[in-house]
């Protein structure tokens, strides 16, 4: 069963020249127990999707979707309070900059305790509840691999190293026993050993607690080792999505192929000192979006039809949006 099912999500931002479609008909599903990777280059709207799911939108944003459901309940039509309860108990978000996502003026203990919802405590008198919360907090920290929980809880965010901060963020995310964790580039700017630890931690949580993870990022190597399925995003449009191995072995969209080719670690046959492949040009800014398929101007296979946005097509579980996919001969 799909936990989170998003169809044709469009996010518009009120700019100076009218509404800009920052996300254009995004499709994304997350099944329970899977790790779904959301991949795209910087500026492709990955973080916008995360914010759209988590609610809390600025007043100059507008969201429309054909379907945006959480466990078959419509997220868009529910009121703020119901939405907040889902965010409190069922979905958790780990942001990309752990230090900035923590209140600098509060100790980590305060911030961890407040994210433990009251329904996880057994019925006790109210003066016993703080103690119960502390016990849970210590357990959570041990779970994510912070051994010295006393020292960690006493500290302010700026007093702990980045990796502990990120592990702490994962601990706060785990506090309400969520069913889905959205990890928005959780290993950005980290050392390779720390990165490996955090990725292992997420994978282990997925295996042991049957936790679904939406992993947002652009580290293809890490993603390919942990994710079960992948959605590729370009400039606010979903380009291709499907099971990890299918997408990786046989990309159907020219952009996915270019993306996979651009990662040197994926190409074992790469001779030394050969030029790395990349698409011409850069990702367009939000003010100058091309019509139709947004990859059009950069696409090696683009033709006249590409000025119309392609409908998503499907081969088994593998979806792609392209008029001239790679498995068909070029005309």
């Amino acid at each position: 069963m799909a936990l989170l099912d998003i169809k044709n999500l469009t996010l518009e931002i009120d700019g100076t020249n009218g509404w800009i479609k920052a996300l254009d008909k995004i499709n994304l599903t997350i099944d329970s127990g899977e790790i779904r990777a959301l991949v795209g280059e910087s500026g492709s709207g990955k973080s916008l999707i995360v914010r759209a799911i988590s609610g809390a939108l600025p007043s100059n944003w507008r969201i429309t979707a054909d379907r945006m459901t959480w466990k078959n309940i419509d997220l868009l039509s529910m009121n703020d309070e119901e939405r907040r309860k889902i965010m409190r108990n069922e979905i958790a978000v780990v942001f990309q900059n752990p230090l900035k996502s923590l209140d600098p003026s509060a100790t980590l203990e305060e911030q961890l305790l407040e994210s433990i919802p009251g329904n996880l405590l057994d019925k006790g008198y109210f003066w016993q509840r703080a103690q119960q919360r502390r016990v849970i907090a210590a357990k959570l920290l041990h779970k994510v691999g912070i051994k010295d929980h006393k020292r960690c809880l006493k500290s302010y965010p700026h007093q702990v190293p980045d990796d502990i901060c990120q592990k702490f963020m994962i601990a706060t995310a785990l506090a309400p026993n969520p069913e889905l964790i959205i990890a928005d580039d959780p290993t950005r700017g980290m050392e390779i050993t720390t990165k490996a630890q955090i990725l292992r931690l997420l994978t282990r949580l997925n295996k042991t607690k049957d936790l679904s993870i939406l992993f947002v990022g652009h580290d293809l190597l890490a993603i390919s080792s942990m994710a079960t399925s992948m959605t590729v995003l370009y400039c606010g449009q979903t380009v291709e999505s499907g099971p990890m191995d299918k997408v990786r072995k046989r990309p159907l969209h020219p952009y996915t192929k270019a993306l996979l080719d651009s990662a040197p670690s994926f190409r074992k046959d790469l001779p030394p000192k050969s030029p790395l492949s990349s698409l011409e040009g850069t990702i367009p800014s939000l003010q100058h979006l091309p019509i139709g398929c947004r990859l059009g101007p950069r696409c090696p296979r683009a033709q006249k039809e590409c000025v119309k946005a392609p409908e998503p097509r499907r081969i088994h579980q593998h979806y792609y949006s392209c008029h001239f996919p790679l498995h068909r001969e070029k005309r």
Binding site: I86, M87, A92, D103, S105, E114
Partner: protein
């Protein structure tokens, strides 16, 4: 921690040193004889002249003179006033508390009104409430204090005789001087109608305090509003919302503390504006404070009084500003945070 204290005290000492040099230089820069300007004694006889020359070390080098001047300052001998002939130290001790009292009350009022309104405006950013409050604060910020004070007198003292026109307390009450602040003085004194005196003093206080508070409230409101916008738009507030906290939980647990930590150092900078406005308003309300006193000194070319008054007021502003700033840093938990490298 220690580093901050040392740095702030260091800053304070150097600024005070510069101020004392300036005040000493004034004795030479004002017209008339430096000895007269320093001591405040006019029409010296031969004998007095020699005595005072000895006292102020006028025959020594200028550095020795400065050191002598400083040691006299610390002994409390600030010279005497041309106009009243009284020791300046005592005169300042009488008038400065009155100004501080006025500024302190208006600071309290502007915090009590400005901070909540600023929060309100910031939380309703780009809505009508925000625009209205911002408009009112621009108006309050732009109104000249002296004109506002006159307007208040016209409306609430002359047209509607609700409040007394000027002064600090009715002449009927004879309050002996002990601290210089009127309300504590009333409570410390042994007059038999303390309640009546308190009410009377408060009635006198309302109009001047109001006149100063308007500008200050507008400033506090704007500072708070921009700090609220800053904090509520920051990543950690977004993160707190995404953790499913309610709006009030986010504001009370994460909003208020961060906003106050941000505006406190900015408020320290407003001390000088506050005291300046108080000094202007004092003149209009004949409030016996340092502003009124200093202005009289300027009218009468009372050079020793100008010198001493300038030193007292500026030293007070510097000390208060530095102390508030130091306090703000000491209670800020992020102080002393090392700079982080990032990849």
């Amino acid at each position: 921690m220690i580093r901050y204290i040392v740095r702030h005290i260091n800053l304070m000492l150097f600024t005070l040193f510069a101020l004392s040099v300036a005040s000493f230089a004034l004795a030479y820069l004002f017209p008339a004889d430096p000895l007269v300007n320093l001591s405040g004694v006019q029409r010296l006889s031969e004998e007095e002249f020699n005595l005072l020359s000895e006292k102020y070390a006028m025959n020594e080098s200028i550095i020795i003179q400065y050191l002598q001047y400083m040691s006299l300052l610390f002994q409390g001998d600030w010279g005497i006033s041309f106009s009243s002939g009284l020791p300046l130290g005592d005169e300042i001790k009488r008038s400065l508390p009155a100004s501080i009292e006025l500024s302190a009350y208006s600071l309290v009022i502007s915090m009590l009104v400005g901070v909540p309104l600023g929060f309100f405006a910031g939380l309703r950013h780009n809505k009508h409430t925000d625009y209205v409050l911002l408009g009112v604060s621009v108006a309050g910020y732009s109104v000249p204090v002296f004109w506002l004070a006159l307007l208040l007198i016209m409306l609430f003292a002359l047209q509607l005789p609700l409040f007394p026109l000027s002064g600090r307390i009715s002449l009927l009450f004879d309050i002996p001087y002990s601290t210089g602040f009127i309300l504590p003085d009333i409570w410390l004194s042994d007059i038999n109608n303390k309640t009546a005196a308190t009410i009377n003093a408060i009635e006198h206080m309302i109009l001047p305090t109001l006149a100063i508070s308007v500008v200050n409230t507008a400033i506090v409101l704007r500072l708070t509003r921009s700090a609220v916008l800053d904090v509520m738009g920051s990543d950690f507030v977004q993160a707190a919302y995404s953790r499913g906290l309610t709006v009030s939980q986010v504001i009370f647990r994460h909003g208020i503390r961060n906003v106050l930590l941000r505006i406190l150092p900015l408020l320290a900078l407003q001390t000088s504006t506050l005291l300046t406005n108080a000094m202007i308003v004092e003149v209009i309300f004949s409030w016996p404070g340092i502003g009124n006193w200093l202005l009289q000194a300027i009218y009468q070319r009372d050079f020793p009084a100008i010198r001493a008054g300038m030193l007292a007021v500026s030293a007070f502003v510097v000390i208060v500003t530095v102390l508030i700033d130091l306090f703000a840093r000491l209670i800020d938990p992020t102080q002393g945070a090392p700079r982080r490298g990032s990849l």
